[in-house]
């Protein structure tokens, strides 16, 4: 994973409009994975989803001078990716698994929420030092317990635990929560 901080602020936005490649890089790094996720919820095909998003970034770059502010940039990207994904369904003759909002003209609210949730996680994750990120990923994604993580990263169990603890402090807990998660059976 990247080590650069993934965020995009007003200064970047002005640079982006002015055509600075560095601002484009930053926007791309911050949004590529979450937007691909959005496209994927419609397309259910990771390769096509990535193509669609790459194409949208090029279109956005060509239209960059028409953009007004960060908020509209945001919304503009999602709308573009949505429309391109719908078009890509017929172009690629993809068989799409039925889901809410399929083929709809309107972007799917729940999918935007999900993608933006992911973008926020990405931002925080990318701010972790590489070692801690490695331990978080091994622990959470690959389900390794801390003894295994220790062996794989060549650190002691105690060290892996401390690193994980510090990573959690930094992320202020990626998982277990403090306020509300409520669902009912």
């Amino acid at each position: 994973m990247r080590t650069t901080k993934q965020s995009f602020d007003i200064a970047n936005f002005d640079d982006f409009k002015a055509g600075k490649a560095s601002a484009f890089d930053q926007l791309f790094r911050a949004y590529f994975a979450p937007l691909t996720r959005y496209a994927w919820t419609i397309l259910k095909d990771e390769v096509v989803a990535e193509d669609v998003v790459q194409d949208c970034f090029l279109k956005l770059w060509e239209k960059r001078t028409q953009l007004s502010n960060i908020q509209s940039l945001h919304s503009y990207l999602y709308r573009m990716v949505h429309n391109s994904s719908i078009n890509a369904i017929s172009r690629n003759k993809l068989r799409v698994v039925k889901h809410e909002g399929e083929g709809s003209e309107e972007p799917v609210e729940a999918a935007i929420i999900e993608s933006e949730t992911m973008r926020e996680v990405l931002q925080v994750l990318d701010q972790l030092p590489p070692r801690m990120r490695e331990i978080m990923v091994l622990h959470y994604v690959e389900g390794k317990d801390l003894h295994e993580v220790g062996e794989m990263t060549g650190t002691s169990y105690q060290n892996a635990r401390t690193q994980r603890y510090r990573a959690i402090q930094i992320m202020k807990h990626i998982l277990s929560a403090s306020k509300i998660i409520f669902s009912f059976l």
Binding site: F24, L58, S68, P107, E116, T117
Partner: protein, 385 residues
């Protein structure tokens, strides 16, 4: 042609919610943002369901997995080598359009603000409410001395130092006396035993132990709910007595729960191994196993997750498929209230929520099931369908 607002405002709203949920997961929300998220959650059960889905451990793991699988740098280079990626200075013709867009966004911002204000105004006014518990403990020594630990100024009592509300046995004088730490309702506390074992105590609980472990074993007795991180000492087994059963450990972590008003005692192991004994019945637990003792019988079950048994020590309520009565028992102790049942709605609750909230917050969330109504009168909460 639809207006800018119609096209983009719903997206901006959804993106805002996503940002709040992401902030919730990464714990980066401030109070206002938390409030904003809560409002959205309470607006619709669908919101609650989506939120629960997105913040589930498995989902977060999936997010990280998804992010890992993207080769963003390679794709970025591919895009930048596309012929369409040629910086062009052609923004003059668009200046007018751009300023119009800015004007419209300012308007959108204005309306968005107004909408938020209305929502706040419509939120129900706070009625009777009860504050959550906080750290509280009493130390009783066998010479009859009673000391309130929380908020206590640093002091030395009978050769034992108490600093920052924490009893320090490191330099305790030889000759063991018995100490008992009692946690009232609405309280919780953690302490270090003379051997370095860390103990978390939940509300309405107690522990008694010698001020020095001089014998061949380290033995303590608990009531209520406790969590142990036992200091390793293979030569001296650590034994926790509760009710008529005992848990023996060498160096490990486990939770013990034994409230008088609950039928069963539970031991949940999070790390290492322990031996649980009840009369002649002896079972050895592996991590992620729970021993449930009812009368003379003991049953060992596998758990998917130990968090429901340990969340309280992080000041979090975690209910996993918990019957309403169990939830109300927990609230009874944490808010020091009396629960009165007019009905017994048979609902099961799955929830994770900070314990550091007034009781009204929990009531609002429980009532969002639309299966139960809860009314506060003084220190009584009435349960109705």
């Amino acid at each position: 042609m639809r207006s800018f607002d119609e096209q983009f405002q719903p997206i901006a709203n959804a993106a805002r919610i996503g940002k709040l949920i992401g902030g919730f997961i990464t714990h980066t929300l401030n109070d206002d943002e938390q409030e904003e998220l809560d409002e959205w959650l309470l607006k619709d059960e669908k919101n609650m369901a989506l939120f629960a889905e997105l913040t589930d451990d498995a989902k977060v793991a999936e997010f990280i997995n998804w992010l890992q699988r993207r080769d963003t740098e390679a794709k970025l280079q591919a895009v930048k080598s596309d012929p369409r990626f040629q910086p062009k200075w052609r923004w003059m013709p668009y200046a007018a359009a751009a300023s119009l867009l800015i004007a419209v966004s300012v308007l959108a911002f204005y309306f968005l603000r107004n909408e938020r204000k209305t929502n706040i105004a419509e939120a129900p006014a706070a009625k009777a409410d009860i504050a959550p518990g906080q750290p509280a403990a009493i130390l009783r020594m066998d010479n009859g001395k009673v000391i309130t630990l929380e908020g206590l100024k640093d002091t030395v009592v009978d050769g034992v130092a108490i600093a920052g509300g924490v009893i320090d046995y490191a330099n305790a004088e030889e000759g063991a006396s018995f100490h008992e730490v009692i946690i009232p309702r609405k309280g919780f506390y953690q302490l270090l035993l003379p051997d370095g074992t860390k103990v978390y105590l939940n509300n309405a609980s107690s522990i008694s132990y010698p001020s020095a472990f001089t014998g061949a074993t380290r033995e303590v007795r608990v009531t209520g709910e406790s969590y142990f991180e036992v200091a390793k000492d293979k030569a001296k087994p650590f034994i926790v007595h509760t009710g008529s059963s005992s848990v023996t450990a060498l160096g490990t972590r486990f939770a013990v729960r034994n409230y008088d008003n609950e039928a069963a005692q539970c031991v949940v192991l999070t790390e290492g191994s322990v031996r649980v004994a009840q009369g002649s019945v002896v079972r050895v637990l592996q991590p992620l196993q729970q021993a449930t003792i009812t009368g003379a019988a003991m049953q060992v079950t596998a758990l998917e997750d130990v968090y429901p048994a340990t969340a309280w020590k992080e000041n979090v309520f975690r209910f996993s498929d918990a019957p309403l009565e169990e939830v109300m028992n927990v609230l009874e102790r944490w808010y020091d209230v009396e629960i009165i049942y007019k009905d017994h709605p048979s609902i099961h609750i799955n929830a994770t929520i900070s314990r550091d909230v007034p009781v009204s917050k929990l009531i609002a969330l429980l009532e969002a099931t639309k299966e139960v109504r809860l009314t506060i009168h003084g220190n009584q909460i009435t349960v109705q369908r």
